[in-house]
Amino acid sequence: MAREDFLENNKPFVFKAACKFSRRVLEWGRDDELAVALIAFNEAIDRYCEESGVPFPAFARIVINSRLTDLRRRESRNLTAGMPVSAPEGGLNEAEFSRAWEIYLEETAAGEREEEIHEFEKLLNDYGVTFDDLVRCSPRHRDTRLSLMLAARSLAENSGLREEFMEKKKLPLLELQKNTGISRKTLERGRKYIIAMALLIYRREDFIYLSSYLKLPSRFEGGK
């Protein structure tokens, strides 16, 4: 079954999200949180709609987080009554519920997106790159951008090169030139752009919004 495979493939993502929420290392089969998170992820697959403008992983994470919040409340206050997200029957009609959820989703997504971008900026600064630099050196031609993106990808996906890069915080231009066949001049000119893109590709799970916005190849495919 496609869905079961999909769930199986994304267990690491669910695990990561749950751990982050709980602020501790969880263990499959031991912690309720993980089970709740996986159910929430399944729910997210059903409920996800692309029009919301929120990328699926981010959406799934929001759903997971809200379910885990529910769980925590239930445990702490011994409440059986569900929260709006899970229990539309408590006086709220369907429309009100979905409206409230939309607002919640929007706000949460906006907050997360902002946080993510700030985090990305910080990461870039570690490599000596600022957004202003990127404005200056991001190639105007789509073709050039694509080829630089390609270089970034080959850097991000070649573990040897990537480690060298992350350690020295310098691009292994010679190897990239060999691997991609792009001229050294182009690579050098787009150095900062490659750095930014390589970091984004490599850590695309941490930068869900950005990577999905850029339509970078994502591991999540066919959310629905």
Binding site: R113, I117, L210, Y213
Partner: protein, 348 residues
Amino acid sequence: MESRGLVVKAKKRSCIVITPDGEFREIPVPAGGTAGVGREIPLKSPRVFPSIRYLTVAACLLVFLFAGLLSFKQAPPAAAYLTIDINPSIELAVSADGKVISARGLNGDGERILAEINVEKMNLRDAVELIVAQAVTDQYLKEEDDNVILATLTVEEGAEPLVSLDSIYDAIKSQVEPKNIDTEVIIEPVKPGLRQEAEKSGISTGRYFLFLKSGEKGIPVSVGEIAAESLGKLEKAKRVTFTELFDEDGEKVKLKQAGDARPLIKGIYAGRRRENSGAEKEGNPPETGKQNGGRKSGTEEQTGKKEREDGKDAERGLRTERGKKVDKNDKNQNSGTDRNEKIQRRSE
């Protein structure tokens, strides 16, 4: 999607966005909207900055072009006009800073001279020198002739002349003197209105002025005559000396001789040192003679002897050997000592 971007950094007036196809751009904050980080905003027109920049450049160019056109149209605000009449008549339009804006020949000879030289953009003084020099080269001014150079400079009423008449006089003299060409030099400041009248009659301001003066003095002369003849010939034909004609007011010259500050507005009237047609002038009363240069002509031998006695004037001696008569009087301030000597000689 193409025209939208995700704000990654917000600044005071602009924000940096990343477009879905991976381009980073800095764009102005959209009007009214707040551009918080993480927001997706429309990029109104791609590359807003460059287009504005190009527009600015284009606008600047247009302005320059326009200004250029305007200044071209208003370009020749000639501050003054100088005419020179030898036989060639030439008019120079002079800008406020004393440069020649344009030159035109007022008769065939004038045009011929201008075809040979270019005086535009020159200092007025240099231009006058060049024209006179060319006139000498082209035999309009000859050693053996009765030469007259008549120059007029338009001067606005109540204003100072644009260039001092003396400097024009010097310019003319510097060209004719070394070549032993004796000329009568008249430099007359005229009102701009006169120039316009002259233009209507189709002759140079100088000649027109001459025509008026002749009329005042009761000398019968027609515009046609004035226009056609060279001044030297005209002088001969009408048996007048133009310096005399103009310089009816002896005061000016007396002042000049005394070395006093001569009112700038007055003209310069310098007669010839020698006078071939002196006989006609002998009847003149002595006062006028004083003003306008001596009309007494000695015989060759007499003058020759006198010149030779005067060791200083070897040059003049040479001239007398060639059979020229030498006049004894001189209005020319520049050769004041010379003149004094001659006056003495005359009284001998």
